[in-house]
C-alpha cells in the first residue's frame, strides 16, 4: 500500500514545472495540466481548460429549443442521451406537457444503456491508462454492441440526438427489445471477465488502493457528484432523490462505497453497470403502448421565467438552467456540468502522490473534456 509522502521543500529551486497535455493520451481530450513536481512527487497542479470551448451556452441563446438538443450531445458525448433528456424535461416542465408512459420508459432504458456504454469505456480506458492494454479491447467489444443498438433505433452511434421536446424522434426499432434482452444476457456473462482481468489484478489493486482518497467532507465541499462522490459515501443520485422519467417505478440500489480512493471510484462504476442491467431488465418487458411523441407547437416558446432541471448523467449531476423572456430562444442558458466541478478536486487529490498516480486519479474521475469546456 502506498503511503502519502510528506514533501519536504528543502530547496525551492528543485521545483520542476511540466505541462501534462494538452495532447496527453491519458486526459482523453485536450486538457492541460501544469504540474509542479518535486522529484517524482506532485506538489500542486493547475488545470488549464478551454482548448475545446465552443461557446455552447452562448450559441443556445440564438437558436430554438429543439435545435439546442443536438448541441447538448456534444458536451458529454458519452452521456449524450441524458444531456438531451435534461433539456427536453425542462421544456416539458415549463410548458406543463404530459408525456406518455411509453416515452418515459424509452428514455429510461436509453439512459441506462448510455450509462452502461459510458462505464464500459471508462473501464476500458482506465485499464489502459494503468498499463493494461487488453482491457481496452474487451471494453470496446462490449460497448460496440450497445452502439449498434443505438444506431438501429436512433440512427446515431454516439451523438444520438434522439430526444425532442415532447418525446423521442423515432419509435423503437422492432428488434430493439429482443436485442437489448440478448445483450443483458450476454453482458452478465462478460462481467466476471471484467473482474478477472482488472478488478482482481494485484498490480491494479496496488496502484489504486489508498491513492487519491477523497473524504466525505471534501466531496461535499468540492461539490462532487456522480460515482466519484458515491465512492466517498455521499448519497447524491438524482435518480433516487428526484426521480424523473420512469426511475420512480424501478427498484435499484444506489451504489455507495466509503473508502473514497481511486479503487472505490472504479468499483462504484463497475457496480453501477450491474445496477443499470437490473434497471433495464425491469423495464424492457413492460414498455407500454402509446405515442412515442406528443405533438408540440411548431414554434416552442417557454413562458417568461426561469427553469431548472437536473438529471444524473454517467458522471454526475447535470443541471440545466434557463431564463426565458417568452421568446422562442432562451435569454440565458446555463449548464452545470458534472465534469467541470469534478475537475476542481484533482489538485486536492493528487497533491503528495507520484506523477504516475496522477494518471490513475484523473482517470478515476472519468473526465470528459468537451463537457468541461462546453
Amino acid at each position: 500500500m502506498e503511503e502519502k509522502v510528506e514533501i519536504i521543500a528543502t530547496d525551492e529551486k528543485q521545483e520542476f514545472i511540466i505541462n501534462m497535455g494538452p495532447q496527453h493520451p491519458s486526459t482523453h481530450g485536450v486538457l492541460r495540466l501544469v504540474v509542479s513536481l518535486q522529484g517524482e512527487m506532485v506538489k500542486s497542479l493547475q488545470p488549464h481548460i478551454g482548448y475545446i470551448h465552443r461557446g455552447i451556452e452562448k450559441m443556445c441563446e440564438s437558436i430554438t429549443y429543439p435545435q439546442i438538443i443536438h448541441l447538448t450531445d456534444r458536451m458529454d458525448y458519452l452521456s449524450a442521451h441524458q444531456n438531451n433528456e435534461a433539456v427536453c424535461l425542462l421544456v416539458e416542465k415549463a410548458l406543463e406537457v404530459d408525456i406518455s408512459d411509453r416515452i418515459k420508459y424509452i428514455r429510461t432504458i436509453m439512459s441506462e444503456l448510455s450509462r452502461l456504454q459510458s462505464h464500459q469505456l471508462f473501464w476500458a480506458t482506465f485499464g489502459m491508462d494503468l498499463g493494461g492494454q487488453t482491457c481496452y479491447f474487451y471494453g470496446l467489444r462490449d460497448r460496440e454492441m450497445i452502439l449498434d443498438i443505438f444506431e438501429e433505433t436512433t440512427g446515431g452511434r454516439m451523438l444520438v440526438s434522439y430526444n425532442c421536446p415532447g418525446g423521442v424522434m423515432y419509435d423503437l426499432h422492432p428488434d430493439f427489445q429482443k436485442k437489448v434482452k440478448d445483450y443483458i444476457k450476454y453482458f452478465r456473462k462478460k462481467l466476471p471477465e471484467y473482474d478477472a482481468i482488472l478488478t482482481g489484478n494485484v498490480i491494479f489493486r496496488e496502484r489504486t488502493t489508498g491513492i487519491g482518497t477523497l473524504s466525505l467532507q471534501d466531496a461535499i465541499s468540492f461539490g462532487i457528484t456522480g460515482p466519484s462522490a458515491r465512492a466517498s459515501g455521499l448519497s447524491c443520485d438524482i435518480r433516487k432523490h428526484e426521480p424523473y422519467s420512469a426511475y420512480d417505478r424501478v427498484k435499484f440500489n444506489e451504489v455507495l462505497f466509503t473508502e473514497g480512493d481511486t479503487c472505490a471510484r472504479y468499483l462504484a462504476r463497475v457496480e453501477e453497470m450491474r445496477e443499470s442491467l437490473n434497471i433495464i431488465e425491469q423495464l424492457i418487458d413492460n414498455i407500454p403502448e402509446g405515442p412515442y411523441a406528443v405533438k408540440m407547437k411548431p414554434v416552442i416558446k417557454l413562458p417568461e421565467g426561469d427553469y431548472f432541471q437536473r438529471v444524473e448523467t454517467a458522471r454526475g449531476e447535470l443541471g440545466v438552467y434557463v431564463i426565458s423572456d417568452g421568446n422562442k430562444n432562451p435569454f440565458r442558458m446555463k449548464f452545470r456540468s458534472p465534469n467541470f466541478v469534478n475537475l476542481g478536486v484533482l489538485n486536492h487529490l493528487a497533491k503528495g502522490f507520484k506523477i504516475a498516480d496522477l494518471i490513475a486519479i484523473s482517470g478515476s474521475l472519468d473526465l470528459i473534456i468537451p463537457d468541461i469546456d462546453r
Binding site: P66, H70, G156, L198, P298
Partner: protein
C-alpha cells in the same frame, strides 16, 4: 518468520491473480469464433448499414425524376447551423397561376451535424437520410451538393 511466509503468500496470490486474468485472454486466443473484428475495406461489398443510419441528407427522386420538395424553406429555418439553403423560383402552373417551386436545394455536408431536424420537419417528406458513410473527398467544394437533380420536377399530388 511470519513476515517471510506472508511475503511468499503475497507473491503467490499476486501471480495467481495475474494468471486468472491471462486465462481470459488465453481462452479467447484459442477461440476464433469469438472474434468480432471486421476487416473493413475488404468487406465493403456486404457491409450494410442500419436503415435509420444518418449518413447524409438526400432528396429521393422517383423514376420520372420527380421529387416532393415544394420549396417552402421550412428545412432551412429549422437547420441549426445553416447547412441548407433553399433557392426558390416561381413557376407558372398549367392553369396559369404563379407558384413557388424549388430552384436549387443546396446542402453543405461539411457543416451538417446530423440532427435530423430537417428530415423530421419537412411537411412533404421530401428529405431522407442515405446510408452512405464514406464521405472523404479531396476537394472541400465537392461537399456542397445540390439535392434536387437537374431537370427534376415536383411529384404530382404533392402540395
Amino acid at each position: 518468520m511470519s513476515n517471510i511466509s506472508e511475503y511468499f503468500k503475497d507473491v503467490f496470490n499476486g501471480v495467481l491473480s495475474l494468471l486468472k486474468g491471462m486465462r481470459v485472454t488465453a481462452g479467447y486466443f484459442f477461440k476464433p469464433s469469438a472474434i468480432v473484428t471486421q476487416k473493413y475495406p475488404e468487406n465493403r461489398k456486404n457491409l450494410v448499414m442500419f436503415e435509420r443510419f444518418k449518413g447524409e441528407v438526400v432528396m429521393p427522386h422517383n423514376e420520372n425524376n420527380e421529387h416532393k420538395c415544394t420549396g417552402c424553406g421550412i428545412c432551412e429555418i429549422n437547420c441549426p447551423n445553416g447547412t441548407i439553403e433553399v433557392i426558390p423560383k416561381s413557376i407558372i402552373t398549367e392553369d396559369g397561376k404563379k407558384k413557388r417551386a424549388i430552384d436549387k436545394h443546396i446542402y453543405r455536408l461539411g457543416m451538417c451535424t446530423f440532427c435530423a431536424l430537417c428530415v423530421k420537419t419537412c411537411p412533404s417528406n421530401a428529405l431522407a437520410f442515405s446510408q452512405k458513410f464514406e464521405h472523404a473527398v479531396f476537394d472541400r467544394a465537392s461537399l456542397t451538393k445540390q439535392l434536387n437533380k437537374p431537370g427534376s420536377q415536383l411529384m404530382k399530388g404533392v402540395e
